[in-house]
């Protein structure tokens, strides 16, 4: 398992799942791919299909309508898969925690491995969170 685990750490393919976010976290995720931050240095890349994912990067406060899709996406991802909650909404609910359609932060529905708070989190914070996740794997 040693070699596979090494490969897993060095090549995290990220599937970005928007669970009712305001798009601000999503823009910061795209910033990470740009020349200034370039997370491909660590072997990370964004993939289009959840079947290729090693990391589910979930942003948003999870409204009630999104819960089934969130759980389905998690079940479809090939295991082992790590989940990262992105932004204040993803971690705690943020300013939407008392909303009428708020259905709990992400870790109420799927197990979360790393939290990246911030509204929106800076690209440095996202990279820091991912590096901590790599240390944990």
């Amino acid at each position: 398992m040693g070699a596979t685990n090494w490969g897993f750490k060095k090549s995290l393919w990220v599937f970005h799942l928007n669970a009712g976010a305001c798009n601000n976290c999503d823009i910061e995720v795209l910033d990470c791919l740009c020349p200034k931050y370039d997370i491909e240095r660590f072997g990370m890349k964004l993939v289009g299909s959840v079947k290729h994912a090693d990391v589910l990067l979930v942003s948003g406060s999870v409204p009630r309508k999104v819960v089934p899709q969130l759980i389905e996406a998690y079940e479809q991802a090939p295991k082992p898969v790590a989940v990262v909650a992105l932004g204040a909404c993803g971690c705690t609910g943020g300013i939407f925690k008392d909303g009428y359609n708020f259905a709990g932060p992400i870790d109420k529905h799927i197990p979360v491995d790393a939290y990246v708070p911030g509204c929106p989190p800076r690209p440095e914070a996202i990279i820091d969170g991912i590096v901590k996740l790599m240390g944990k794997l």
Partner: protein, 312 residues
């Protein structure tokens, strides 16, 4: 018996699967690194493709609900085996001069198997986006296959006596200089480079796996080791096609002395051209791609053929 065993070893290890996969994966790193530098980024470390494959080997295979299990899982393996055989034929012909009548036709035929494998696999996956990708791949294969074959046969027409054996093409070039020195073969080589872009599904012809609209299209439902097979097949195609073009048009592979250096330089030039075309062109629509290959490219290939018949 001994020759059967050595053929199996040739197929599995040296010119075949293992060697081609290793060099092909290293070439995908060159591709990613050059792309990153073009975009002013740093890019991944050299071991990145190997880490990707190792990781995919350790993951679960998710079979989609309603998929045809056998076809879904066996189709990529057919592609992998076909590229391995092509690589073995090319290298054995180059290294030891062994060939058989019509091996050129065999190579052209085997080079379409990976595309066919992806079409079958994507159709078996019961995913609407994957089947859109499969139908686009089918149209693309139908469009580029004709100019590709005409361009390859330009080289066959050019040598004398005409022969469908790879080793006689190499021998002719050893005696009379590389085919790329003639006008007809330069045209054929350009056509081949354009078709290579489509065979590898690189931009501007990455229509079957369009990342932004089809989410990787034909590969969409593959995961874990099956995706590793798909990625390895693509990497091996990236290695095998330039080797094929060097064999046909550019004097064959020379593996001793300065010839080795020239061979590597030729290979790197072809790969770099492919990567630069990939990074400087947007994706075209499928109808534009089909019109492009059936129109200008086929006409260009036929002009090259006519020039070859006229003796240029």
């Amino acid at each position: 018996m001994a020759s059967t065993l050595s053929m199996i070893l040739y197929f599995l290890i040296f010119p075949g699967l293992l060697f081609t996969a290793a060099v092909g994966l290293l070439t995908t790193w060159v591709d990613r690194k050059v792309s990153a530098r073009v975009q002013w980024r740093v890019g991944p470390p050299w071991y990145q493709p190997f880490a990707d494959i190792l990781k995919l080997m350790g993951k679960e295979i998710v079979i989609p609900e309603g998929a045809k299990r056998t076809g879904f899982l066996l189709a990529p393996l057919a592609g992998l085996a076909a590229v391995g055989v092509v690589s073995m034929i090319l290298w054995l012909t180059n290294m030891r001069g062994t060939g058989f009548v019509g091996d050129l036709i065999g190579v052209i035929y085997l080079l379409t198997i990976p595309s066919l494998g992806m079409i079958i696999g994507a159709s078996a996956s019961s995913n609407p986006l994957a089947s859109v990708g499969a139908s686009r791949e089918m149209k693309l294969v139908l469009a580029y296959e004709l100019p590709f074959v005409i361009a390859i046969f330009t080289a066959v027409t050019k040598i004398s006596p005409m022969s469908l054996r790879l080793d006689s093409i190499i021998q002719y070039q050893d005696a009379n200089g590389v085919l790329l020195g003639s006008a007809s073969c330069i045209i054929a080589f350009i056509v081949c480079l354009l078709c290579m872009q489509a065979k590898l599904t690189y931009p501007p012809f990455d229509i079957p796996e369009a990342e932004t609209e089809l989410m990787d299209g034909t590969h969409m439902e593959y995961s874990g080791p099956a995706l590793a097979v798909v990625k390895t097949t693509q990497a091996m195609m990236l290695f095998t096609l330039p080797v094929f073009f060097i064999t046909i048009f550019w004097g064959g592979l020379k593996l001793t002395g300065w010839g080795l250096l020239y061979t590597i330089v030729k290979y790197v030039i072809i790969v770099t051209i492919a990567v630069l075309i990939k990074n400087t062109n947007p994706r075209v629509r499928i109808d534009q791609a089909v019109r492009f290959f059936c129109g200008p490219v086929t006409v260009l290939a036929i002009i090259g053929m006519i020039l070859a018949v006229a003796g240029f």
